[in-house]
Amino acid sequence: MATETKALVSERAVSQRVAATGGWILRWIVLIVLAGLIVIPVAYAALGGFKNNFQLSLNPIALPDPWITSNYTDVLASESFWQQLRNSVLIATVTAVTVVAFAALAAFVFARRSFPGREVVFTLFTLGFLFPSAVAILPLFVLVRTLGLLDHPLGIALPQAAFALPLTIIILRPFFRSIPVELEDAAAIDGCGAFGFFWRILLPLARPALATVAVLAVVTSWNAFLLPLVILSDQANWTLPLGLTNFSTQYSSDTARILAYTTLSLIPALVFYLLAERQLVSGLTGGSVKG
């Protein structure tokens, strides 16, 4: 009886293992095909940049032959590409610093103070998360124009920071709340005021959460298109997405050169992704924000 059961069990284990191996291979095939579909457009752009247009039209899927570097070197030698890169970096930095600073201050009192109307104000902030930012784009243009910030980095950074506030506050609040009240008590005994506690204890402890929201803000700002399109008209102020769209219409027949430009403007984002993937994922899913 006992052996029979044992035999049955082991038979089942074997068939399960076979099925598991089969499933494993099938899973790999599906995932590899999908990975190919993800990589191919990027690889096409990167390799296409090393071809000339004749090669591209002759056989779009072959490797470059010969490898031509002039598309890349031309873009890298052009002042406008670097200018756009600097503009993108500047605007993303100002956006992230502003939104993280302002949201941290607000999230602190939302998390650790009770005051009349707190939930109403908090809800007002979270509502902003639910609306497409395109809704406000026309009045925003008028407002930025009135403020004299058209064609100014702040004309992009301030509205972007404002629209990033809801998500940033939503993420920071529970994190700030999770820091034990005893710490605040101890700080108070040592003569630490509200701002002292916030600045010297809460913020250093919240570094992972702050990194997460900063990463989210940088990515959103880096990829933004509609607001810069509306606010920035002078070429000298363009960000990379604006520069790329313009380049791709200006040289619309020079596919190889557009591919080189695209690849080069993609590199910073991908490097940033490799460095900050963890923060990005945790910001979107709550993983490490939990503490």
């Binding site: 779009p60 007002l124 609306f131 406000a136 301030l158 629209f163 298109f225």
Partner: protein, 311 residues
């Protein structure tokens, strides 16, 4: 005991911290920024929408609801709304189930899992503008799509999808899925990892097949995460703009206009700021409707949970 005394001793000290005034100071920067750049513009959109205005002259030509009448009577706008709706339907019926399937595949430990996850999520950081430019070149005649089909002898299948009013939305949807399925996959994967493995094991012991365990144990528990994914997908589809603007500009023959691209075209390209504002108010009302429906059917803790890990 000592601890308790100490804590009791602090209570008055804490209330001595400047109360409401200091709270106000903490809130002030965010409130001002948010009020000036988010709340006021949304209210102003409602105001502008009642005027005929080119954005330069003083705001004097009050025309009541005429802009709204014009929008609802304009077949181009009505079509744009249906385009957004089609993208939403496609996302919910195709993209999210697909993302869920991949998330289920990646929810087990196996060699290479981390790399697949990293790869699939990567397009999320690629700007829609970049994705749009690359895909436009891939799909154009003589591009990678045609060349690839040529090589396998299927060149008769090729057509310039982005240039054909009948196929342009489907082509855009392919690009959207390419860029965003990994985002949904990441959200769903996080939800899956919050489900204790024991539950599926218990189901297996009770004789459930893997499929049954997924259908009757995993999916119901994943409900809140799926709903968040659905909601984010709807909001994303409602404001679809960058990709359309870069790949097709809303064409051919307005076949790929969305509400946002229509809004920008009328508002900025044709300087009809009053009319464009009416469009944005309509977009706002639709988003509000979606948000309220979401609150009603799904409750807010779902959103809190997925975005903050509190749930």
């Amino acid at each position: 005991m000592t601890q308790r005394t100490e804590r009791a001793g602090i209570a008055p000290a804490r209330s001595r911290w400047p109360g409401l005034a200091s709270i106000g100071l903490f809130l002030l920067p965010a409130l001002v920024l948010y009020g000036v750049f988010v709340l006021i513009p949304i209210v102003q959109a409602a105001q502008f929408s009642l005027y005929k205005w080119n954005g330069l002259t003083p705001l004097t030509d009050f025309i009541g609801l005429a802009n709204y009448q014009r929008a609802l009577a304009d077949p181009v706008f009505v079509k744009a709304v249906t385009h957004n709706a089609l993208i939403i339907v496609l996302s919910l019926t195709t993209q999210i189930p697909f993302s869920l399937g991949i998330a289920l595949l990646l929810n087990r430990r196996f060699p290479g899992r981390a790399i697949f996850r990293l790869l699939f999520f990567a397009p999320y950081v690629i700007a829609e503008v970049i994705a749009g430019v690359v895909w436009r070149l891939i799909l154009q005649p003589g591009g990678l799509a045609e060349g690839g089909l040529n090589v396998v002898g299927l060149d008769s299948l090729y057509q310039p999808w982005l240039a054909d009013p009948d196929t342009v939305l489907w082509a855009l949807f392919v690009i959207i899925s390419w860029k965003y399925f990994g985002f949904h996959m990441i959200i769903l994967l996080a939800g899956l990892q919050g489900i204790p493995r024991e539950l599926e094991e218990a189901a297996a012991i009770d004789g459930a097949s893997r499929r049954q365990a997924i259908r009757y144990v995993t999916l119901p528990l994943l409900g809140p995460t799926i709903r968040v994914s659905v909601f984010l997908s709807i909001i994303g589809a409602l404001q679809l703009f960058d990709l359309v603007w870069v790949t097709t500009g809303g064409g051919p023959a307005d076949a790929s206009n969305t509400m946002a691209s229509y809004l920008v075209d009328r508002g900025f390209e044709r300087f009809q700021l009053g009319y464009g504002s009416a469009i944005s108010v309509i977009l706002f009302v639709i988003a509000l409707f979606v948000a309220l429906a979401y609150q009603h059917f799904v409750m807010r803790r779902d959103l809190d949970g997925a975005l903050t890990g509190a749930g």
